[in-house]
Amino acid sequence: MTGTRHMIVEGTVLPIPRANIDTDQIIPAHYLTRIDADGMGEHLFEGMPDGADLLARHPGAAIIVTGENFGCGSSREHAAWALLGRGFRAVIAPSFARIFHENAYNNGVVPVILPQETVDALMSAQTIAIDVAGETLRADGAEPIAFALDPLRKQFVLGGGFLKYLHAKIPAVRAWEAAR
């Protein structure tokens, strides 16, 4: 459940100019048969009608640029694991489905939210460099574009540690429950 974390995510772009890419398309349920997070990357987008074609046309891409509501549907964290397993480190979209959004943070897939017009413009970018800590990105060396990460979850996307963070809260939770 811990991908390699990056302060700077740089790579070529895989554009998917559609909204509502659901997690069944990202990783079909029949691959959800493992007790660990491994082995998902090779099946990325197998549920997407043109998934294999898209991946073949953008070999080595590390950043997905796509439409609204990316990651909707099933809660499967396997979607984030499949993206990581295939070398994707960031997704840029106008919005994310709630569960995928959290899964992305917890696994080091940087979820970048930008307005639709900006995302549309980024669809034709070749290379994007994302300064995760600084919350800016540059497409093909152009002027930096600012975006905002969740100030709490940013630490998880950069360094992992979600469970450690919660573990440290246990005394406070127990005290709250005792006083409930």
């Binding site: 069944d24 007790i35 549920g47 909707c72 549907g73 099933s74 489905a97 469970l163 573990h167």
Partner: protein, 444 residues
């Protein structure tokens, strides 16, 4: 401040405010199944010495692939089985199991005002009991098992009032599909849907679960319905028969971030024609003229095509949306004395539902009609086992997702209520239950 029902439950569970508008929210119950739980349970074992916040606040079951279909799914089940035994967690093994969102309420594990989470998006089903219930990922579920809490942004609340009375032939499934069509496939994003109004009050608990089940299909965090006498009677009849809960209600003039009113008397039996649940239309209607080309290409349909002209290859009645006893009775009412003309799979939502159906003789009606009557499992709903679709084939299904590939790579899914699925199974095309009833009259 005047508060919504959801606001009251939220406020009663916030342990601490965290940076960035996040909150540490206490979870009264964590539901754990064999597909999404193992990596989290293993991480806790390795990194935190197998520590759980409170094993009594967890209930586990085998549901998605029950029983295991191969060595890999057997290992998933065995991992949950040994973990639950080791930790003293309530566990429902095959034979005594059910789909989590069917089993958990029918056993009486959830009461109004509780907070519940599960590594499963349809956990919103449990909002029918007046609880705050939401789906989460594996890591978040592990956090809730380890520390008793989730980290959440407070959702907004959308009040959805269903006025009037549903027509006799319209079901909770038609209502929930119509709500999604009204507010849009992602229209609920960032919201909790608080359902209210006379048509909601008139629903029984199973129907309320069907309504709340598909809140996630509008992108919502969850759905919720205030508890009332119907809820109390339902809970009193469960094996756990929980007592001591109080029914919270929204304040009379509570403020909502959004309000939607839908005329319940205008709800028609609907069926989906596209690749998300919001893409649906009345069974007696047609594919809309402005339907997205991409959806139609996948579904192999054209604008204006009459829905009742669409031939099907398979029918499925089951899933956490429509697999409870009332759903099976509705299907049996249509299938009684008829013959199915396509492979038809009927999968009860739990083993308890299965046994009740058999006490009522429904299994004979189904099997006399030529349908396959199975034990409980998620089965073909997610294209993992027990009836996966072949590419290019078309299934009418009482489940909740018609995404590309959902029930099998290249398979096409039309979502509908159990009675519509049953009628379609008989006629081999999308059909209205009234077509079967009128046929019976002609034959008589």
């Amino acid at each position: 401040m005047k508060r919504s029902l959801f606001d009251k439950i939220w406020d009663a569970h916030v342990v601490d405010e965290l940076p960035g508008g996040n909150a540490l929210v206490f979870m009264d119950l964590v539901v754990a199944h064999e597909i999404t739980t193992p990596p989290g349970a293993i991480a806790i074992e390795k990194e935190f010495d197998d520590e759980l916040y409170e094993p009594d606040r967890i209930v586990a079951m085998i549901d998605h692939v029950a029983p295991a279909k191969d060595a890999a799914t057997a290992l998933q089940a065995q991992t949950v089985r040994t973990w639950a035994k080791r930790q003293g967690i309530r566990f429902h093994d095959i034979g005594n199991n059910g789909i989590c969102h069917v089993l958990v309420p029918e056993r009486g594990y959830v009461t109004p005002g509780m907070s519940v989470c599960c590594g499963d998006s349809h956990t919103c089903t449990l909002g029918a009991l007046g609880a705050f219930a939401l789906g989460i990922g594996t890591t978040a579920q592990a956090g809730a098992m380890l520390a008793g809490c989730l980290i959440l942004q407070r959702p907004k609340v959308m009040r959805i009032e269903i006025t009037g009375e549903l027509p006799a032939d319209a079901t909770a499934k038609d209502l929930t599909l119509s709500v999604i069509a009204t507010i849009g496939f992602r229209g609920g994003t960032g919201y909790v849907l608080e359902y209210t109004g006379s048509a909601v009050r008139a629903l029984n608990m199973e129907q309320r679960m069907t309504l709340c089940n598909m809140a996630i299909e509008a992108g919502a965090t969850t759905g919720i319905i205030a508890a009332d006498a119907t809820t109390a009677a339902y809970l009193a009849a469960t094996p756990a028969a929980p007592a001591g809960w109080t029914a919270l209600q929204a304040d009379d003039d509570a403020e909502y971030a959004a309000t939607v009113t839908i005329d319940g008397s205008a709800i028609r039996p609907v069926v989906s024609w596209g690749t998300n649940p919001g893409e649906n239309a009345p069974v007696d209607g047609a594919v809309p003229a402005d339907a997205p080309a991409e959806s139609l290409a996948y579904m192999d349909l054209r604008p204006g095509q009459a829905l009742r002209s669409i031939a099907i290859d398979q029918a499925f009645i089951g899933s956490c949306t429509n697999s409870r006893i009332g759903d099976l009775r509705a299907a049996a009412a249509v299938l009684r004395g008829q013959q199915v003309s396509v492979p038809t799979i009927i999968t009860p939502g739990s083993q308890a539902v299965r046994r009740q159906a058999e006490r009522e003789g429904l299994h004979d009606i189904f099997q006399d009609a030529g349908a396959l009557w199975t034990h409980s499992s998620c089965g073909p709903c997610l294209g993992m086992s027990m009836g996966v679709l072949a590419a290019g084939t078309r299934c009418v299904s009482s489940s909740n997702r018609n995404f590309p590939g959902r029930m099998g790579d290249g398979g096409r899914v039309h979502l509908a209520a159990p009675a519509v699925v049953a009628a379609s199974a008989i006629l081999g095309r999308i059909a209205s239950p009234s077509e079967i009833t009128s046929r019976e009259v002609v034959l008589a």
